[in-house]
Amino acid sequence: MAITSTVSPDGNQVTIYIQGRFDFSSHQEFRGAYEKLAQAPIHYRVDLQGTSYLDSSALGMLLLLRDYAGGEQSNIQIVNCAPDVKKILLISNFEQLFDIQ
Amino acid sequence: MEHLDYDTLNTLKQLMEDDFALLIDTFVQDSTDRISTLRQVIQGTDADLIRRAAHSFKGSSSNIGALQLSALCSALEKKALEKRLEALDVDLDSIEKEFAQVQVLLRSLS
């Protein structure tokens, strides 16, 4: 379970990569990836290509991110989901809150 | 027709350089041998043998520029080819005579 992130050169986009299981044990690292940036980004991307599993606490963490990023005004994409991961997001109606690809 | 083609001989002189004298000697020796060979074969009736001997001598004489000599050999060759084997010794006499002349002329050059 490793969380890494990259920031675009102009500081407007941050991409967070989640490897392995995305569950409550990722909590600190996940927060750290978006809270301590020098400049508040405009776009957020959560890349789940390497994510094997997503549980309900992870759903909670995504919502925390959304709130931090501006709630209704936030601009967050969740990308590269494996079919099982996507299923959980869709069952939870998260496509109403996030741009899921 | 001339006995010798001096153009040919000049070219040969340039070609052989210091070996020109050697060439002349070789030709003289060669031709002498050929003439005696011819003397022998015209005694027999083997037309092909006579033709070949005449042909060879024709070749070498033409290479050295001995025009008349070459022509005489050519005539002999033709006679043998046509199997007209009469009076060949007369033809050979002419050849021998011509060769003697050529020999003198060549020697004066080298």
């Binding site: 309900s56 909670g60 | 060669d30 042909h55 070749g59």
Partner: protein, 569 residues
Amino acid sequence: MNDVRRLKILVADDTDTDRLILESIVRKEGHQVVSACNGLEAIQVYSAEKPDIVLLDALMPELDGFGAARKIKELAGDELVPIIFLTSLSDTESLVQCLDAGGDDFLSKPYNRIILQAKIKSFNRMREMHSTMLTQRNQIVQYNNRLLQEQTVAKHVFDNVAHSGCLNASNVRYFLSSLAVFNGDVLVAAMRPNGSMMVLLGDFTGHGLPAAIGAMPLASTFYGMVPKGFSMTDILREINGKLKNILPVGIFCCATMMDINFRKKRLKIWNGGLPDCFIYHHQEGNITPVKSTHLPLGVLSNRAFKDNCEYFELQKEDRIFVWSDGIHEARNADGDMFGEGRLKEVFSRNSNPELLFADIIEAVQQFVGSGEKDDDLSLLEIRMDEPARVNSFAKEASDKFGNSEIEWAMRFEVKPTSFKVFDPLPMLLNVLMEVPSLRAFSSTLYTILAELYTNALEHGVLKLDSELKKTPDGFSDYYELREQRINQVTEGFVRINISHKTNENGGLLKVRIEDSGEGFDHQQRSTDNLSSFGYSGRGIALVEKLCGTVTYLGCGNIVEVAFSWASDD
């Protein structure tokens, strides 16, 4: 001036004078001279010195020029050794004789230096071209041999991989000509745990090595997944993904895959890129074609891959015919293709279905004719029959799966000392995965078990309150508290009960989890947590969506779910 490199030239003339002159000319041209006075000597000198060009007097004693020329050409073998005849012969017949003997040109007496120079130059150019050509030809032969060798290896690998499995069942007939196999046709077949037969006929683009490379992951995936009970679409998807990853763009596998259930007399079929398969109905004597409706394997990414299949109800003695395009594209001497028209004719002409298979092969072979060595046929026939008459595996599986309802149950209890060090979920999931039909649902089942267990552990045993998770900081606090309490817990339990029962159409999995906590007022539980977006409460809602029902029992410390699944045959 001389612009030819220094050559070695053989001068053979019996007249000393002539030879001397020629030697001088050749030397003056900058070349090395070797000499001979007669035919025999010419041959000897040639063997010893291997000159680049030979000047040969036509009339020589011992062996004349013609004889020498023939021998020299023989000795030269593959290489080009130009032979220029020295001759004052002028009659055509003699000149022809020179050429017949292997001569390439003439130089007449008296010798002309310029002419000789030109001939040497020209022949040397020819010699060099010829030499280059020989080298290249030898290289080509070498490469070709290597290619042939590689292809033999490829074929060997291919043969071992590409057509094995249960093709020796009594209702299966197949024909794979060796050229077809070599051209990338793969035929694999295996029995599923429930007694059905899964078959795949594939036609890789390209031949030899590229095809063999694709066949290996295809076959190993196929043979790995079929006995484990994976469904046809899962297997197709897996194969497609693997091929897409390893094959270069432009190389793919046209394929038809089938799942044949002998017990229920059903056929499930997916055709991507192969010609129409035919289902021959025994009773009516007609054909239903099954068209290719998909792209071949290895083209689309797994996201874009379409796995929808066609289903057919069949009767005993109905036959399924599957083939690669080798039949349709077989050509006769005039270049005409066999085509689907002629294939249909074979069917309409036939009066004994048992002979259809042989009829098809014969028709194609006759059409192509004996002259053409282009036998590229792959043909498969499967006849619908009772499981007992297919093979022993089918019979056994059918007896086992068919009529009986299989039932089992297990109990597992996690005790206080285990909570912090032991996660029971992987083990429990493993047990479930032993049921072949449940394998397709592994991630769903994992989610269900994980959410239920987490709830039981966190709320029941550790007595954590979800209310804490209402704020971002509260979220962190909650998990900190969790870590603390799990390290300190000394009492409590989580009991997990799982039972499974199969039936005609599938099965029902029941999971019941009981924790040692005080429960909660489950009557008041809001039932639609997935549309209100609080930070917590989603777990159970998720389970509800996946299972259909979530029932609380006792004081709220027991939760029960039922997961029902339908078999895909």
